[in-house]
Symmetry: C2
Subunit: 105 residues, 2 copies
Amino acid sequence: MDAQLRRGVLDVCVLAAIKNEDSYGYKIIKDLKPILELSESTLYTILKRLEEGKMLIVRSVEFEGRLRKYYHITDLGHKRIEDFKSEWKEMMGIYSFIVEENRYE
Amino acid sequence: MDAQLRRGVLDVCVLAAIKNEDSYGYKIIKDLKPILELSESTLYTILKRLEEGKMLIVRSVEFEGRLRKYYHITDLGHKRIEDFKSEWKEMMGIYSFIVEENRYE
DNA sequence: CGGAATACATCATATCACGAGGTATCAAGA
DNA sequence: TCTTGATACCTCGTGATATGATGTATTCCG
């Protein structure tokens, strides 16, 4: 998978991974594995950015002696997913242009 | 349109713009305008990269006193477009995951 | 005991799009 | 003639980004 193409869906993928129920870093990676593999450093960068953008909020929980940070999607986060859907329609237009058959006459 | 999403298609769009017939910078921008707007600085960066990646070759032509550099797609360039098609299939899978309805039971 | 799994974090690096700015020619109109 | 806008190219600096490498600490299991 091309790196640039990948970048376009990373943030939204992470949001989608927590949209049904709160989750934490390590679990997000495991859940996304069949869809899209991402490293820890990549994920934590994304989570940080999403938090700064107020698309999710964080809650630290002590779990079996280890720290766990649960991420909860906000309304802004849901909106981001909705916006993505419209952007995808635009992308489909671009896709059609790219794969359009050659015109030899 | 989200900047990251855009990035994923920029290179391939430029290749698509020359896949049917050779073209030059200024014309590529005009042709792509209805599909995707891009500035000159962006385009020339992309053309340079595509040339370095041997996806197109350049031919300088004197035209009405002005210089014109015609870009011609190579086999590697066509392959890049083909690869993009497969990548798009992967992307559709990711898209489905993202927009999948919430499961409340 | 020891290593794998769990769980977090930071830093340096490389890649990239883009605005700002630059050069030069030609056509059209004031 | 002078100026403006279109044509046509190019470069540099900046900010954003993903990722590998690396580090810390705990728990589980053989």
